[in-house]
């Protein structure tokens, strides 16, 4: 073995020695979530720490389903997240396209305002948004209230603006000379070229909607119409908390995200990297 190979092997071992404990620390809560989801409530708080799953997952899930109609809530969550993701990707990419590719008066101000909204804490926006949607528009407990207010994602707009700015302008000039209409250039040239960024954005937006708890809790908390995280939250009562059920629900909520991430991770990584390297 050459000295170069030995040095590479040594560096690899050192790196693994450093990263493996970090990975275990990161994975441990997830593993414990799976373990707790298979244990009865009284078992979870037993003095000894259990590290291996039991066989009580179905019992916990049945209790969860009985108390919250969790499958129905997941269905609502899927519908909300998918609709939100599709609409938000479309909206943010259109806004990003306009800001990246067109010159118009006040463009700098628009970008500054969008940047400014990122710095606002969500808590500042939440109450005015609630008053506007629930009191002024009378939209409480509707799907529109769940989906529309968070649709405009300023980070997504800037993300897509960056993606479109990095594309060579000559591509779009070529299409313009060929007489292709602007919306077709966006749809058939720009969007396909930005698919890595779009995939990354879609995952981020889907995750944001899927995990969103506070806004759906405020605006849509009627029984039978709740999203999954809100439904799960109802298990935390004043006198009793059904931890087994909550953990089983948490496992159910985590699985779809894992599937989505595994399916799109190639695009996701490419999309994130595309923003980092010109």
């Amino acid at each position: 073995m050459s000295s170069l190979s030995r040095s590479r092997l040594g560096r690899g071992i050192l790196l693994h020695l450093f990263l493996t404990p970090l990975a275990l620390i990161w994975l441990f809560p997830l593993w414990m979530m799976v373990v707790f989801s298979t244990m009865p409530d009284n078992g979870i708080f037993s003095p000894g720490i259990e590290l291996l799953p039991h066989d009580g997952f179905l019992d916990n899930f049945n209790n969860l389903q009985r108390d919250t109609n969790f499958v129905g809530a997941i269905g609502i969550s899927v519908c909300v997240a998918v609709t939100y993701t599709v609409l938000s990707v479309l909206l943010t990419s259109m806004a990003g396209w306009a800001l990246a590719r067109y010159e118009f008066h006040g463009k700098g101000i628009v970008v500054a305002i969008i940047l400014g909204t990122i710095t606002l804490p969500y808590a500042v926006v939440l109450i005015p948004q609630f008053i506007m949607v629930a009191r002024d528009f009378q939209l409480a407990n509707t799907w529109i209230a769940l989906i529309v207010p968070p649709l405009f994602n300023s980070l997504g707009v800037l993300f897509m603006r960056q993606a479109f700015s990095m594309m060579p302008a000559e591509l779009f000039d070529a299409a313009r000379v060929e007489g292709v209409k602007e919306w077709r250039i966006f749809l058939f040239v720009a969007l396909p070229l930005a698919r890595s960024m779009l995939a990354a954005l879609a995952i981020i937006l889907f995750l944001a909607s899927w995990n969103n708890y506070l806004w759906p809790l405020l605006i849509n908390s009627q029984p039978g119409a709740m999203t999954a995280p809100v439904a799960l939250g109802t298990l935390i009562g004043l006198t009793k908390v059904s931890w087994g059920g909550i953990m089983a629900g948490a496992v159910m909520l985590t699985l779809p995200m894992l599937v989505v991430f595994v399916l799109l991770q190639r695009h996701f990584i490419a999309g994130i990297a595309a923003g980092a390297v010109k």
């Binding site: 000559e170 000039d173 313009r176 000379v177 060929e178 007489g179 292709v180 058939f188």
Partner: protein
């Protein structure tokens, strides 16, 4: 096919004026090359003809029709870009047909045009490949094919060969020339490479800092440049400029003294107004116009710094005071670095410029 007329065309970016009233008439079917150094406004001018840049003043007409406010697609032009601008997610066939499909052109006609372009450019076998699977030359052919399928009145080329290696550039140059003969369409071609301009153009437009310096046939520009800039820009290697002073004028001729060559004198016949005695002037001599000692009207002694031997000819680089001279020598008269030798200048083969760079005829 169509003529293109630019009348007092001005382009400003904010307060910065980059094209200062260009007047150019391009005849139907003519191949015109815009040439000039980087930043001279040649690409901006082309993009204004294409409609990709608004014009700040003046008029552009294509086929006799004013197109100042006409969309690029409605000007009857097709453009080939420096970076090829091929859609990377489409096959060659889709790239060629994209514009036609998007505009609802009948399928049969689209197929006919694509097949014709593929046949002209010999890219039939590449139709199902994507741009990343093509070489630079093949990509450039596809880019030209995309222009051909539009069956335009005017082709616009924006430095289309800049990204190719030297050999491929020569090959594509010939192909573009062949294409022009085959299609007979008006072509406007932008380049900073004067060799491309000389070999391709029916007429060349030389630009400098947003001004049209001279318009003419390649050999007219070579033989009869209007100023020092054009004289230096056209011709490769570039013309030598020797500092001189007028010492005598008489009988439609000026006698000048080369200030960096030991006072060597040359009597230059002139047909227009004579310069004043004592005026500083510049003598322009092309590398290929130096002759052997005693064969010309003025001999100058040279010490070769570097000699480049290209086979048929050699180029000798020599420094004489602040002037660097390039001298072309036949292969049989090669000189090595460090050699001392004498060359001669013929009065009728050199040009005279005043201090500001204007030609003295």
């Amino acid at each position: 096919m169509a003529a293109v007329t630019l009348t007092n065309v001005v382009k400003r970016f904010g307060v910065l004026e980059v094209v200062h009233g260009a007047n150019i008439d391009i005849a139907d079917g003519e191949f015109v090359v815009f040439v000039g150094p980087s930043g001279c406004g040649k690409s901006t001018l082309l993009r204004m003809v294409a409609g990709l840049e608004d014009i700040s003043g003046g008029e552009i007409a294509i086929g006799g029709k004013l197109v100042n406010d006409v969309e690029p697609a409605d000007r009857g032009i097709a453009m080939v870009f420096q970076s090829y601008a091929l859609y990377p997610h489409m096959t060659v066939e889709q790239n060629l047909s994209f514009g036609l499909r998007m505009n609802g052109n009948p399928k049969a006609d689209t197929e006919r045009r694509v097949s014709r372009a593929a046949e002209i450019l010999r890219i039939d076998e590449l139709m199902q490949r994507r741009p990343k699977q093509l070489s630079g030359g093949q990509r450039q052919r596809v880019a030209i094919g995309r222009a051909i399928v539009r069956e335009p009145q005017v082709f616009l080329f924006d430095e289309p060969l800049s990204n190719l290696d030297a050999e491929l550039r020569v090959q594509m140059r010939v192909e573009i020339s062949r294409l022009h003969k085959e299609l007979g369409t008006t072509m406007i071609y932008v380049t900073h490479d004067q060799t491309e301009a000389m070999t391709l153009a029916d007429r060349i437009v030389v630009l400098k800092a947003g001004n049209v310096e001279q318009i003419g046939a390649p050999l007219d520009l070579y033989d009869d440049p209007v100023n020092r800039f054009v004289a230096g820009f056209i011709g490769s290697p570039k013309m030598n400029f020797l500092g001189a002073k007028v010492v005598e004028t008489s009988n439609s001729a000026a006698t000048i003294e080369l200030v960096n060559h030991g006072g060597a004198r040359l009597r230059k016949p002139l047909c227009e107004s004579l310069p004043t005695v004592g005026a500083e002037v510049v003598l322009g001599v092309r590398p290929e116009h130096f002759c052997e000692k005693g064969e010309g009207d003025c001999d100058i002694a040279i010490k070769a710094d570097v000699a480049e031997h290209l086979g048929s000819v050699s180029y000798v680089y020599a420094n004489a005071g602040p002037e660097e001279l390039i001298i072309e020598r036949e292969a049989s008269r090669q000189r090595a670095s460090g050699d001392h030798f004498t060359v001669s200048i013929k009065a009728e083969r050199c040009l005279l410029f005043d201090k500001a760079g204007a030609r003295i005829r």
